[in-house]
């Protein structure tokens, strides 16, 4: 048993580290002049936030979801429709998107949390596919044609910029920081402990009086809402949303991947995973994809396989303190 004050000290250290990183990342854009590299930072931070959102349900609570594209799509579509059809700026629309995405996560969770293990993962996968089919045929949201967000004027309220890469570095930084701080809070909260107990052994947790179902529902709602915000920001950044790019199956995988590669159920895993995967994916595509022989995709795939084999606990384990030292500290504390 790790003494309480060690846990508190570690959490305070993490908060300080997070704050320091935030400062570095806030200064970094000023040093970068290439618009393309700015775009890379935008995407990396977006996926860091999305994957952190996934991590709350998939990592801390241990409910592997392959349907988070659904919440992303809801966030994206809700804020886009509100903006394009009702002139409600996306800075407000994203709250509606987040709320509905969280609600959708509860609706998916209500029947599906009665399933366990692989069955839950498959159920989320199917939910995502159902949504994809529905939106593909739903004329109110332009069905398969998708919705274009036209550029009208420079505005922070509407998150519209002639050259969006520079300002969106800060938008996405705020998003990634928000997702991180939510994860930090829940990690130390009563829920966080309950989730880890549920993840380790649901039966044992229940026998100790933990109410499993409501705790899973809470994780789902928070996770869905965080991913929904990311969807809304993505739509505004790209200026276009269609069923494939907003709700596709590959998106659900891309959301989960940084957390899985970086370290499931850890505070730094999603950020670390995104910082490695997104640049490699984009740069290999840029430098090798033009030949059209798929070398870039093989390279990217090989990297993921290699990381999974070499670091099954995730990249975050590279930075873990040695077990002996940790144990020593525990004794001393």
């Amino acid at each position: 048993m790790v003494p309480v004050n060690t846990v508190l000290r570690r959490r305070r250290q993490e908060l300080i580290l997070g704050g320091a990183l935030l400062v570095v990342l806030a200064v970094l854009p000023l040093a970068i002049s290439s618009d393309y590299l700015r775009g890379l930072i935008v995407l990396t931070l977006l996926y860091a936030g999305l994957s952190q959102g996934w991590n709350i349900l998939g990592g801390y609570c241990g409910q592997i979801s392959l349907g988070h594209g659904l919440y992303f799509g809801i966030g994206a579509y809700v804020s886009t429709v509100l903006y394009v059809d009702y002139a409600i700026p996306p800075t407000l629309g994203l709250f509606a998107g987040a709320a509905l995405a969280g609600l959708a996560a509860l609706l998916v969770g209500w029947p599906c949390f009665r399933l366990s293990g692989h069955y839950y993962a498959i159920a989320t996968l199917v939910m995502g596919l159902i949504a994809l089919l529905l939106v593909n045929n739903w004329d109110f949201v332009n069905a398969a044609r998708g919705i274009t967000i036209p550029f009208r004027h420079q505005s922070w309220v509407a998150l519209e910029f002639r050259f969006p890469n520079f300002p969106f570095q800060y938008v996405m930084l705020a998003y990634a920081a928000l997702a991180w701080i939510i994860a930090w809070i829940v990690e130390g909260s009563r829920w966080g402990f309950v989730w880890r107990a549920v993840k380790d052994d649901a039966v044992a947790a229940r026998s100790l009086g933990v109410r499993i179902f409501p705790s899973k529902m809470a994780a789902a709602a928070i996770s869905g809402a965080v991913v929904g915000v990311g969807g809304a920001l993505y739509a505004q950044y790209v200026g276009f949303i269609d069923p494939d790019s907003g709700l596709g199956l590959s998106l659900s995988v891309l959301i989960a991947l940084p957390a899985v590669v970086g370290g499931v159920g850890t505070l730094w895993g999603p950020l670390l995973g995104a910082a490695v995967l997104i640049p490699v994916q984009q740069l290999s595509g840029a430098w090798l994809g033009g030949a059209g022989n798929g070398v870039d995709l093989m390279f990217y795939g090989a990297l993921i396989v290699a990381l999974a084999l070499l670091r099954p606990q995730g990249l975050v384990s590279l930075f873990a303190r040695r077990p002996a030292k940790a144990a020593e500290e525990a004794h001393a504390g």
Binding site: S34, L37, R162, D242, G290
Partner: protein
């Protein structure tokens, strides 16, 4: 020691890639200065994923046109003389391809990269309309012309973009041509077309096509006897074909992909239903795979197209261009898509030639002043001339019919190579 080094190198591999990208930025202007006589043009296509084949064909087609401009092939069309772009002192076209993975976001960031890092003077793309939306918006922001080769969604030229140019007809034009043909044919035979039956797959292509056709039928006073939608991956079309039979329309208008087109024609045969006429919206019905699969059942089928490979009398450049493309791409003939890709690059080369500069403003002015007569291209169009939205107003599609095992152009009359067969 060496072990440590190797590990360090391995660990820094992703950083190395990023470094390469940075180095690329630094080098780009120097390269441009060293090779003044090269014009860089960015091409964004899906080169991986399910649409990769289309992207690879586009690569071959665009390279053929670049070779025509750069080389010495003496092809009887505009910019066919060769020897580079005369207006730019014989500068050669260099194409830089990027893989959009058929994803709007990747298309966006790759276009940004081509413009800001590679300093391309224009972008050509992109097959699917979802990627064309983001590419055209990026181009508009960076003020670089986007030549849309084969994106046919009408909405693209209605976005109010000022750097968008589309030589190809749109879906509106395509369906309009079908109804123009029906009207002309009715006048000729004296038998008015009273009803049509629309059958379409339910993704963006089929449902848009059906929507436009319904509107045009209403305008022409033709009754829509049936409007049937189905999923392209369906295992059976029996019910749908029975409904077509019950509707008994003068003309059946299918908008289908390949496997469902095959299934539809076979099911019609199996159920003993022979429509009076089939006039298809391109796509599956002109796919060589379709013809191979249904053989003689395709006899008499008509389809709209934007290219007619047999129009060699009025378009003398076709045989030579087609021969080059065949040699470059596994003995395939030019088709509806690849012919438009060749033409898109031709339009751009012509504009660069007249602009006498790679300056973006000069290039846009030249593009706006484009006026190419149809016989100077490989397309059966009247010509190429852009309106203020960047849409070609002289790009009229053609109607073809499958007769005795070959496609023949039957409409409009000035490029027709055969007369209509059938009794509708």
């Amino acid at each position: 020691m060496s072990g440590i080094k190797r590990r360090q190198i391995l660990a820094s591999a992703p950083l190395g890639l990023a470094g390469a990208a940075l180095a690329g930025t630094a080098l780009a202007p120097r390269n441009a200065a060293a090779a003044e006589k090269e014009v860089l043009i960015g091409c964004v296509y899906p080169l991986s994923g399910p649409a990769a084949q289309v992207g690879h064909d586009a690569q071959a087609a665009l390279q053929v046109m670049a070779d025509i401009v750069n080389g010495n092939h003496a092809i009887p069309m505009l910019m066919g003389k060769g020897g580079g772009i005369a207006g730019l002192g014989g500068a050669k076209i260099k194409l830089i391809f990027a893989d959009s993975q058929n994803n709007p976001q990747i298309a966006q960031s790759e276009t940004q990269r081509l413009i800001t890092q590679q300093k391309v003077v224009a972008i050509v793309g992109s097959y699917t309309s979802a990627t064309a939306v983001t590419i055209s918006q990026v181009c508009n922001r960076y003020q670089v012309p986007y030549i849309s080769a084969e994106n046919s969604a009408p909405s693209l030229s209605e976005q109010g973009l000022t750097w968008f140019f589309r030589p190809s007809p749109t879906d509106n034009d395509f369906s309009q041509a079908m109804f123009d043909f029906l009207e002309a044919h009715a006048k000729e035979t004296g038998k008015p077309i009273k009803s049509v039956a629309i059958i379409h797959e339910n993704s963006v292509f089929g449902s848009d096509s059906a929507r436009i056709q319904t509107g045009l039928a209403k305008k022409a006073g033709i009754k829509v006897a049936a409007d049937i939608s189905y999923q392209a991956s369906t295992p059976s079309l029996q019910v749908e074909v029975e409904r077509l039979r019950a509707a008994n329309a003068d003309v059946v208008l299918p908008s289908s992909y390949t496997s469902d087109a095959i299934l539809m024609v076979r099911t019609m045969h199996d159920l003993g239903y022979k429509p009076k006429a089939i006039l298809a919206q391109d796509a599956g019905f002109i796919d060589p795979t379709f013809l191979k699969a249904v053989g003689p059942l395709a006899e008499g089928v008509m389809s709209r197209s934007s290219f007619s490979i047999d129009a060699v009398k009025s378009r003398p450049a076709i045989p030579a261009v087609n021969a080059m493309y065949k040699a470059a791409n596994g003995n395939k003939d030019l088709n509806d898509l690849t012919s438009r890709e060749v033409t898109a690059l031709q339009v751009l080369a012509d504009a660069l030639n007249r602009a006498k500069s790679t300056n973006n403003m000069a290039l846009r002015t030249a593009l706006r002043e484009t006026d190419i007569p149809g016989d100077q291209t490989i397309m059966p169009w009247k010509g190429i001339k852009f309106d203020k939205t960047g849409q070609n107003i002289e790009g009229n599609p053609v109607i073809m019919q499958y007769q005795k095992g070959e496609w023949h152009t039957i409409f409009p009359v000035d490029v027709a190579t055969a007369t209509v067969e059938g009794s509708f």
